[in-house]
């Protein structure tokens, strides 16, 4: 996985045309909806990974990176050198690392309890022993 990510990393980003076009989209609402998450339970029934050698580490992203390709390069290097899969736990709407092939889960919740329960559920699902906060 890390090699395919390394091969895909490039500083090219698509031009964002939302500001130009959004006013003419008749579905656009005056108020953005929220990312919501009721208090959820941990996932305790996983049967493990398909490949027993798989190890995942979590990267808890609190803000979207300004230069996603730089962070992607760092994380892909960690992944390649340590033979681990990197799972992005993203608070922003896009981690901006998705285009390179990083698996991204959304972390949200209106309260601290909801957000922590969400993180705990994702950590149990991915069997994360290590979560780095960026």
């Amino acid at each position: 996985m890390s090699n395919s990510i390394l091969a895909a990393i490039s500083p090219l980003v698509a031009d964002d045309l939302d500001t130009l076009l959004e006013n003419d989209d008749n579905r656009r609402a005056a108020r953005m909806g929220k990312a919501i998450m009721p208090e959820v339970l941990p996932h305790l029934l996983t049967a493990g990974y398909r490949n027993e050698q798989t190890v995942c580490i979590g990267v808890h992203l609190k803000e979207a990176p300004e230069f996603p390709s730089r962070l992607a390069l760092k994380l892909a290097t960690v992944s390649a050198q340590n033979n681990v899969e990197v799972i992005i736990l993203s608070e922003p709407e896009y981690s901006r690392l998705e285009p390179y092939g990083f698996r991204t889960e959304r972390v949200c919740g209106a309260t601290k309890v909801e957000k922590e329960a969400c993180l705990k559920q994702l950590s149990s699902f991915w069997m994360l022993q290590v979560v780095l906060t960026v």
Partner: protein, 665 residues
């Protein structure tokens, strides 16, 4: 917290705990099942049963522990249970205790494990040492006016059972719903198709069976096992009459049913239909087992179902398929009912788009290539949907495959399930599971294709509602058109012709070669601006960066951009196709074909043969070059716009879909 703890770590004992929890939830408790580190090879169905109740927490001083199977406590179990029980505020030990000595013995054993003084509730041994109690399940959503008759445990080869099912299947007033063993379910679905709703015991909770039932006919000789006992108890509480003709040791409130199908129907017609209130009164007067009252008194609850405190609103759950079509379509319908404040449960790649349309969105988890069980992510989604939904709410699903999470949450939360199901399934696709799960939905809304020959029927019944195409119609005035193009010119330089390419998400087929070919074909044309639209989570193909008049853009409002193009080059998903038709866009279609997708080639062909669009095969580059030339050099695009302006297209179905979801007919 009410923590259910089992003294057993046997798989079969754990499976039944979810049913106990579901029954307890019905009376207003919030039960959790302590996993106590158990690693079990549970069936898929049992895993989905347990998903909304699992807990890894230990009981605290405020918590009550319901210790199931207390009479079977072993030394090994004592060690395993020490941690969850140690700080529990209250422990209720449930089991079969035939003698005073056995009660004293278990209380003594538990005193070592917990600081609290354990209370003991003895249940009969033939209940498997489990607390059986009924709850009033209310009436679930009905599809039509026919009364639902649950046929419990029919045998596929039994002529009497077959005659009864046949008689009900063709009845105008009654509808059979089969509840059987998983091993024989396919025998019924094979013979009757999706028109016969058929469940096996482990895909539906007793509480939901009861809420679906107007009456229950038990065909087996036995109805043991906790699920069956809970079903019978629920029927008594819910005023649902139960009939049987082979059942041994049945309580006297279960009615005898004649053997012959004709006589059975006559009896139902004479005694039951139209007498629901009287039946409810009679069943309410039946003396309940003392145990029921004992358990409920211990828990401080009554049997009356407590109202869910959460808002019973409308939840949309679009599948994230190859593209974002399901989410787009749902948002068009949801936009028709903003005052109802619908919310979405959607995969992360769709969230920003839906939030931009003003909807609150709960993220779901996509399938993982790493996990050993392919449904692991769906169990997370089941738990999340369960936490988001409330009894009696509406869940609108848009997708081709009905996930277990959808089936379970509609069933267990007794929601009104509605399926928006577009057609154009490919010939040879195996849709048997999808069609089997149609049973869970009160309505199936089929947004038609614009052209009649593309519309096919996959199932029939009063619950199927065909409506016009669900499509976004843009309203770009000439002044707006000029303004937007001027803005693009200011950003990218002057141009005469605008080409917009949007070839899909790349899940079904990698289109980077086609994008590169298009960019190179257009590079030599002066005065052309070529915008390649990608989704924000998609990779920008590096080869496109070298072309001077091609730019890769991202937007959540691609239909607006397509509306101001001189040429639109597009995949042929439902939404893209209908936007091209209804917004009169001169389009070259390039179909994405894969076995799990809709038949895009067939859809595009319908427009091509009417002179409303062009289509090229993805590898036919010379044809592509010719078509581009035709559009950009000969004014052919204007001809297509005129042809589209003249054709009569069906009225869009956006508002009709919303009306049906809100209860309209």
């Amino acid at each position: 917290m009410l923590l259910i703890v089992s003294t057993s770590d046997e798989k079969s004992d754990f499976e039944v705990l979810a049913v106990v929890a579901d029954q307890l939830q019905a009376i207003g408790l919030e039960p959790r099942i302590a996993m106590c580190g158990a690693v079990l090879e549970l069936s898929r169905n049992a895993q989905f049963d347990l998903a909304p109740f699992m807990a890894d927490e230990l009981a605290g001083p405020e918590d009550t522990v319901l210790l199931i199977g207390s009479n079977k406590i072993t030394d090994a179990a004592s060690i395993r249970l020490r941690a969850p029980l140690r700080h529990a505020g209250r422990v209720i030990a449930i089991g079969s205790f035939e003698t005073i000595q056995s009660r004293i013995s278990v209380r003594a054993a538990l005193s070592y494990l917990t600081k609290s003084r354990p209370e003991v509730l003895s249940v009969p041994d033939d209940q498997g040492a489990l607390p059986v109690f009924g709850v009033d399940c209310g009436k679930g959503m009905r599809r039509g006016s026919r009364k639902a008759v649950i046929i419990h445990d029919p045998e596929p080869g039994n002529p009497e059972d077959k005659a009864l099912i046949d008689a009900l299947f063709w009845s105008e007033t009654l509808e059979p719903v089969i509840l059987c063993h998983s091993a024989v379910k396919s025998e019924f679905t094979k013979n009757y198709g999706p028109a016969l709703r058929c469940y096996h015991h482990y895909e539906i909770m007793p509480r939901h069976v009861t809420s679906l039932a107007d009456m229950v006919i038990m065909r087996g000789e036995k109805a043991n096992g906790y699920r069956n006992m809970a079903l019978i108890a629920n029927c008594l509480e819910s005023g649902v009459p139960v009939m049987a003709n082979r059942l041994k040791h049945s309580p006297n409130w279960i009615m005898r049913l004649p053997n012959s199908a004709d006589a059975a129907l006559r009896m139902i017609d004479r005694d039951l239909l139209g007498n629901e209130e009287m039946i409810r009164e009679e069943l309410a007067a039946v003396k309940r087992p003392e145990l029921d009252a004992g358990l409920l008194a211990l828990l401080g609850q009554t049997r009356k179902v407590k109202k869910d405190t959460k808002r019973a609103g409308i939840i949309y759950m679009p599948t994230n398929g190859v593209g974002l079509g399901h989410a787009q379509r749902c948002s068009l319908v949801a936009a028709q009912m903003r005052e109802q404040k619908p919310v979405f449960a959607a995969f992360p790649s769709c969230m920003r788009m839906l939030q931009g349309y003003g909807f609150d969105v709960m993220p779901l988890v996509s399938r993982s290539p790493h996990h050993g069980q392919e449904h692991d992510n769906d169990m997370i989604n089941r738990a999340r949907l369960d936490a988001l939904s409330a009894d009696g709410g509406t869940l609108v699903f848009d997708g081709g495959y009905v996930f277990d999470s959808i089936l379970r949450v509609i069933s267990d939360r007794r929601m009104n399930g509605i399926w928006i199901r577009r057609g154009m399934w490919q010939a040879g696709q195996d849709n048997s599971i999808a069609l089997d799960r149609e049973k869970i939905f009160s309505k199936v809304i089929v947004p038609n294709e614009a052209f009649d020959e593309l519309n096919e029927s996959y199932s029939e019944g009063a619950h199927i509602h065909n409506i016009g195409p669900i499509v976004q119609q843009t309203n770009i005035t000439p002044a707006k058109h000029t303004h937007l193009r001027n803005c693009l010119a200011a950003k990218y330089g002057e141009f005469d012709k605008l080409v917009v390419t949007m070839l899909g998400g790349g899940v079904a087929a990698d289109r980077s070669i086609q994008m590169s070919v298009l960019a190179n074909m257009l590079e030599e044309r002066r005065g052309v601006l070529h915008l390649v639209v990608t989704w924000p989570t998609a990779l920008v193909p590096p080869t496109l960066a070298a072309c001077s008049n091609t730019h890769v853009v991202r937007t959540h409002h691609a239909s607006v951009l397509a509306s101001i193009a001189d040429l639109y080059i597009s995949a042929v998903g439902y939404n893209s196709f209908h936007e091209a038709m209804y917004n009169r866009l001169p389009t070259i279609f390039m179909a994405q074909m894969n076995s799990f997708m809709d038949d895009q080639h067939k859809r595009a062909s319908a427009a091509v043969k009417r002179g409303l669009a062009d289509m090229v095969d993805p590898e036919d580059y010379s044809h592509l070059l010719g078509q581009i030339s035709l559009h950009l050099d000969s004014g052919y695009g204007s001809d297509i716009r005129m042809a589209l302006a003249e054709i009569n297209l069906p009225q869009p179905g956006n508002a009709d879909a919303a009306r049906l979801i809100l209860g309209g007919k």
